[in-house]
Amino acid sequence: MAVFVYAENINGVYKKAAFEAVSYAKAVADQAGETVTAISVNPTDSSDLLYKYGASNVINIKDEGLKSFSAKAYAQAVSEVANGNIIVFPHTTDASSIAPMLAIMNGHSLITNTLAAPESLSPFQVKRKAFSGKGFMHAKSEAPGVILTVSQNAFGVKENVVSGSEEVKNLSVANEDTKVISHEQSSGKLDLKEAEIVVSAGRGLKGPENWGMVEELANVLGAATACSKPVSDIGWRPHTEHVGQTGKAISPNLYIAIGISGAIQHLAGVNSSKTIVVINSDAEAPFFKSADYGVVGDAFQIIPALTEKIKAIRG
């Protein structure tokens, strides 16, 4: 038996989340004494990229009908090739749309947002994120099959080179109920949930015209930019950048919060970041209690100076 994993690609190119899901699936398979079979829909990238993280088999689904995304049609396609009792997905928008439909199709149980390799395989038990990052749940399933979605940046991408083989499956799944009319991908912009470093700012920045320095720091660090809820509510930044309980939950290696006081709802979305730096002029800002490093001072002086110093060491 194999452990299956959905290797998500975007326009044929594997996402970092796919490599993380394969790394996770390999850990599960090692625990179970099984191998990993990765499934991908219309990839153009080489399967070597998946062997590198532990997938011994790669099934490439070729289907013109799946050129555009439909949760239901993709679930149908995955269901036709994944006949194992463990199927791993990344916790991305697409994958977490497919997984619940697949769970119903297969009669599997579904555990989302897992953070670590399973604690036990029989019965199946795993730690997952809950309460918007304010707590953890140890979830147990006794169903014969289980589908998992792996919280992004939680398990990490782990190299584990195996020799693999590739198989092409030609399918033609009915995809009649939904039709993609347009698809906009902002080019060159780092995805917030995949980013290893995130630079975020709040109302302390006083206005949208001051975001240039945030973007510059992010640029130097190769980071994505984010913002607090009030900032997206006022319209200084798009709501897609809002991190927090009702926005996006992120877990980068480094989170730099500038001029954000650290309301409990904001912390919920970011406190699984590995390292947190808080820069705020208010020494009493609650965020300092949840930070690893802090600077009390004027962001308008600190950020440009910090940007120059990082530029110098990255030079």
């Binding site: 949760a71 809950a130 939904t178 009702t246």
Partner: protein, 248 residues
């Protein structure tokens, strides 16, 4: 047009999350309950469609009697009527099955939900409902228009967005952006008074099947005390990030 909006009753967003002494459950003591904020976006969208297209809006909640104040709030916001499935929900699957059972006979053109609840964060109920009803599903919607038997939904994808036409009936899961934060409806006195007399039907669950159990819970461990760096010594911050935390 008939719309069904699924709402979940969740701890207020400012709640500190505590677990019982034996860590086997969420500690509900002192918790204020609210409509799941992501469901509120969906509910507001439904009310907008009610105003613009004369849709009727039914809210459904799977929960015990404790959730009724939250259901009444949804009625005060403008839903026409409500159904409560009398079951303290244990997992996404059992919740989805009860919603699908009610929806099955209701002839709804559109089922709207938040993409996840802010308590257990399963994010699974909407997709499961769609599959149980064999309907199309669009997740993470940040825009929605309905035109006869078709809807146009905008969904957020990593680093962009996608516009999709969907044949109704369908299940759409929304998030922030489906309506603007400023358009969220705060019930007025008239709404609150009329909510008291709107129909709230209580139905018994169809089964008690559960697939996933929460066996124990942990709080997030506290971080070590913050290391403060002087704004005049940013070299030290860079050194700490580079050498100690090894993140740059």
């Amino acid at each position: 047009m008939k719309i069904l909006v699924c709402i979940s009753s969740v701890p207020d967003t400012t709640s500190k999350i505590n677990f019982t002494a034996d860590k086997s459950a969420f500690d509900k003591n002192g918790i204020q309950w609210v409509i799941n904020p992501l469901d509120e976006f969906a509910l507001t969208k439904a009310i907008k469609l009610q105003e613009s297209q004369g849709a009727t809006v039914t809210v459904i909640n799977v929960g015990d009697a404790v959730t009724e104040p939250v259901i009444r709030k949804a009625l005060a916001i403008g839903a026409n009527d409500a159904v409560r499935v009398n079951l303290d929900p244990k997992d996404s699957y059992s919740t989805a099955k009860e919603i699908a059972a009610v929806a099955q006979n209701g002839g709804y053109d559109l089922i709207l939900c938040g993409k996840e609840s802010i308590d257990y964060n399963g994010g699974s109920v909407p997709g499961m409902v769609a599959q149980l009803l064999n309907q199309p599903f669009v997740n993470a919607s940040v825009g929605l228009d309905v035109n006869g038997s078709e809807a146009t939904a905008v969904r957020e994808i990593e680093g962009g967005k996608e516009t999709i036409s969907v044949k109704l009936p369908a299940v759409i899961a929304g998030q922030k952006g489906l309506v603007d934060e400023k358009d969220l409806i705060i019930p007025n006195m008239r709404g609150i008074m009329s909510a008291r007399t709107k129909p709230l039907q209580v139905v018994e669950p169809t089964s008690s099947d559960v697939k996933v159990q929460g066996v124990s819970y942990d709080s997030v461990p506290p971080r070590a005390a913050v290391k403060l760096v002087s704004p005049d010594n940013l070299d030290e911050l860079v050194r700490l990030l580079h050498e100690e935390a090894k993140v740059i």
